[in-house]
């Protein structure tokens, strides 16, 4: 086909485009994924029975804010990465802030306690299942994020894949926190972060499927 004919055809196909398409597409993919993930958590693990009383503790909100702030920052980075030529370095750097903040809190908590207590603070009672569960609960969100990115235009596929993975991981961790009754900063900063990072790695490995 001649390029002029192509231009005719594309011009004939023109329709006004809303400026909120990128945000809406991502929100749709992530919303559907998060919903599926929440239902999976409910049926599989169940919401912790003491949620109402736990919601009065700062430990609960630490997990809540940590995972949600990571999810929001990763969403912002993904929203930038979905657009050709839009910088995303600031957003990706900001992702370090919640991690560093929680690390500081974790060091304060393990400072000056006995060795046994320190182990207990770090390992909790569920360290062997926590990262796995987070990774598994992230998968529906992961699928939603990749579906949405596939409709947009990421030009750095591996970076976009990693960020979409971190976004899904943070979302999955946020949902897992409705079940998990661990309450120490060292536990969360180690095992939650590990689960989230694993999903990020999966995203990087799957980046090439974002090709368009």
């Amino acid at each position: 086909m001649k390029t002029d004919e192509l231009i005719d055809r594309l011009t004939g196909d023109l329709a006004p485009v809303s400026r909120t398409v990128v945000g809406r597409t991502l929100a749709l993919g992530l919303g559907a994924g998060a919903l599926a993930s929440f239902v999976a958590m409910w049926l599989w693990l169940g919401i912790r029975p003491d949620l109402a009383s736990a919601a009065a503790t700062s430990a609960y909100w630490m997990k809540f804010i940590y995972t949600l702030s990571l999810a929001c920052l990763a969403f912002w980075a993904v929203e930038r990465l979905a657009r050709p030529g839009a910088g995303s370095r600031v957003q990706m750097t900001l992702l370090g802030i919640p991690v560093v903040a929680l690390l500081v809190l974790a060091f304060i908590q393990i400072d000056g306690v006995s060795r046994a207590t320190r182990m207990h603070l770090m390992m909790g009672a569920s360290s062997n299942v926590c990262p796995w569960r987070i990774a598994i609960l992230s998968l529906p969100v992961f699928a939603g994020a990749f579906w949405a990115l596939g409709k947009l235009a990421p030009t750095r596929l591996v970076v976009a894949g990693v960020m979409a993975g971190l976004l899904a991981g943070a979302f999955g961790a946020w949902i897992y926190a409705f079940h998990c009754d661990e309450s120490t900063a060292p536990f969360v900063v180690i095992w939650y972060t590990l689960g989230i990072a694993a999903v990020g790695a999966l995203g990087g490995l799957s980046g090439r499927y974002l090709r368009w």
Partner: protein, 183 residues
């Protein structure tokens, strides 16, 4: 450059609003820019034009990803660069070899004529006998299709079609071999 940016951005904004005249002007201008962009980076004009078209389609289908608060040309060149890298990484091979150019497949190895002839014989072995003879007579010995038809007692059209199919099949076999070596 700055003038171009302002002009292109204005056209893009009208196009996003649904203005077809602005959109046509935009795509025409982008066609020119992209042709220059790809011509400078790829030796071969045909694949440059393929990429121009592919990028215009990408501009069309992904136009909603342009953030209107940012300049337009960085978006465009990010798309163009992505399509260029994608092309270089997944270099698609043309599937049809025109009959006139098929001779090039054999002409490449003239410096090592003997080796080439051996390879050629081996390749021709893969074809049915009638096709093999027709190709040998017309493409290697230089007979006309009419003469070859007379010798084999088949119609000229049958000889021509046979040669065409045979060369196409050979081209595919060569390409398979080559892409295996590339890996």
């Amino acid at each position: 450059m700055l003038a171009a940016e302002a002009q292109l951005k204005a056209l893009m904004l009208s196009a996003l609003g649904g203005n077809a005249a602005a959109y046509r002007a935009l795509l025409t201008a982008l066609g020119e820019l992209l042709r220059r962009y790809y011509a400078r980076r790829l030796g071969d004009a045909a694949s440059a034009e393929d990429l121009v078209q592919e990028t215009l389609i990408a501009v069309h289908t992904r136009r909603a990803t342009y953030d209107t608060s940012l300049p337009f040309t960085p978006w465009l060149y990010a798309v163009a660069r992505y399509k260029l890298l994608d092309h270089l990484r997944h270099g698609r091979v043309r599937t049809a070899v025109p009959l006139d150019e098929a001779g090039d497949l054999f002409a490449e190895d003239e410096s090592e004529a003997a080796l080439a002839r051996r390879d050629l014989d081996r390749l021709l072995e893969l074809l049915p006998a009638a096709t093999r003879e027709a190709i040998r007579q017309v493409k290697i010995e230089g007979l006309s299709t009419a003469e070859a038809a007379e010798r084999s007692g088949r119609s000229e059209i049958a000889v021509r079609v046979g040669i065409h199919r045979g060369l196409k099949a050979l081209g595919e076999k060569l390409r398979e071999g080559r892409s295996r070596e590339d890996r």
